[in-house]
């Protein structure tokens, strides 16, 4: 039997309604929307424009021309950062962000740093929430962009978008947010939240992989990454991924309707999971904020147990860990590190990303599995034994790091 999927921050299954609407565009409606002198192109163009309108609705954008279709949110993020820097006339321009951003932001900035761009990391608290005063203090006449995610993919922490947007607006600095985890879970409104650029991914909201979008507020310009046929108002050349875009549109429409009902249902499951673990298993901690978090995210640390070993024990569930031992690089989660979680606890963390397919019964089974296996693995753990003897394993003098 396949494990129960609880890794919805990584990706989500395609909604059957999305698949259904995409299929004709993979077959009979194969036209290129940029070549609409005939019926083939015209059908494709109409469908793409309808999808654009669906994205407009989800974000409360004002104008369909503000939506640029891309291949993924990583591309959207790269476009904004590199595109804003390319057009900037400021010497050593500064970009304000936070340490818990996705690598598509952090590594892009790292590359830009080599061209003289300066990354300013605003302070975050122990939940990962940005300190608004810290943003204000960092703003100066070289600041060209503020980029702060809507929600974190590991710990689920939600950022105060509206307050950040307000600050950005007051200082006349464009505000970008990577909203891939938030869309369909919490309301993001580019008008009310004063957002100038916003990155979208289809596959994080039950759409297809290989398609994303960038919201680009009217009046703001960025240099394109790709030059070519001048599609998407010249901002993103390349023949449009018509079936993908149509899937993204439908996924956006469904995501909008999920904000009532489905988000609440998943939030109840999340709370059942978090409260169940904290009440039934001692020495467990919740990473991230108790309430200002994605309705589908629970990130928990089980002290004295290594995350991967617990995941192996929970083989009926597909989940992920912040432990080094599950990654190719053997580095533990930089997000947990950034919010001050000690390495030993980072190794003991598991991320549960709930979604539409999960039920109350799944959570009941998960809690029973966790309780049983945490006990089994702690009985096997020398750290738990030490803790029982009153030794603080974080202060104990261990030998040097071997790897």
């Amino acid at each position: 039997m396949k494990p129960i999927y609880m890794d919805h921050h990584a990706t989500t299954p395609l909604d059957p309604r999305v698949l259904e609407i995409m299929l004709p565009y993979l077959q009979e409606h194969f036209g290129n929307p940029s070549s609409s002198t005939h019926i083939y192109g015209e059908i494709a163009k109409k469908a793409v424009e309808a999808a654009r309108e669906q994205v407009v609705q989800l974000l409360n954008a004002q104008n369909p021309a503000e939506i640029i279709f891309t291949s993924c949110a990583t591309e959207s993020n790269n476009m904004v950062l590199k595109g804003a820097v390319a057009l900037s006339k400021v010497e050593n321009p500064e970009i304000i962000t936070i340490a818990t951003e996705h690598k598509a932001i952090l590594d892009t900035l790292k590359r830009l740093n080599r061209q003289g761009v300066v990354t300013r990391l605003a302070k975050i608290d122990k939940y990962g929430i940005v300190d608004l005063d810290s943003i204000k203090e960092m703003i100066n006449d070289r600041t060209i962009l503020i980029t702060i995610q809507a929600a974190n993919s590991e710990i689920g922490t939600l950022q105060p978008l509206r307050s950040i947007g307000q600050i950005a607006k007051e200082h006349n600095i464009p505000f970008h947010t990577d909203a891939v985890q938030a869309l369909g879970k919490i309301k993001v409104d580019v008008e009310k939240d004063h957002i100038d650029f916003l990155s979208i991914s289809a596959h994080k909201m039950y759409g297809p992989k290989g398609v994303g979008a960038l919201y680009l507020r009217k009046g703001h310009r960025i240099a394109p990454l790709l030059d070519g046929g001048g599609q998407e108002r010249g901002v993103r050349s390349g023949t449009l991924n018509v079936p993908g875009i149509i899937g993204l549109g439908k996924a956006a429409e469904i995501a909008g309707s999920d904000l009532t009902g489905e988000a609440d249902r998943v939030r109840q499951l999340r709370d059942m999971l978090i409260n169940g673990v904290l009440e039934r298993i001692d020495q467990t901690t919740l990473n991230g904020h108790p309430t200002l978090r994605l309705p589908n995210n629970a990130n928990l640390s089980f002290s004295y147990i290594e995350g991967e070993s617990l995941i192996l024990a929970c083989k009926a569930f597909a989940v992920s860990t912040g432990s080094a031992c599950s990654s190719e690089t053997l580095k533990s989660s930089y997000v947990l590190k950034a919010i001050g979680v000690p390495d030993s606890l980072a190794h003991s963390s598991i991320r549960f990303g709930l979604g539409k397919s999960n039920t109350k019964e799944d959570i009941t089974l998960l809690l029973d599995t966790l309780e049983k296996n945490v006990k089994r693995l702690r009985d096997m753990s020398p750290l738990y034994e030490m803790a029982q003897q009153g030794i603080d394993v974080d202060k104990f003098e261990w030998g040097e790091h071997k790897h």
Partner: protein, 129 residues
Amino acid sequence: MSTFEYSEKVVEHYENPRNVGVLEDANGVGVVGNPTCGDVMKLSIKVENERIVDAKFKTFGCGAAIASSSMLTEMVKGKTLDEVMEITNKAVAEALDGLPKVKLHCSVLAEDALRAAIDDYRKNQKNKH
């Protein structure tokens, strides 16, 4: 890392680890690793006439670390101290039908624990005399 990247033997040892615990009458104990690195192994051995007659382990670590620990205890039991000196991390990994490349350090942990437990035993013997 997920179960399908491990050999069946690793998964079997992870799920049914042999010789878990601490020997009450151990005369050699080795603790190696570091929780900040994500693995710690405690090996306790009972040596009689230069032969390991019993061994138990406790391990904080991933599936490969637990399986390596379990396999090590099986490999050392009944062997003389000279014989176990021949046991390398490679031998532990091979006995498990191999470990994923990024997990080879887990078998090093097992070898280190064995060396530490024997050192501890030697030290205890010296102190006796």
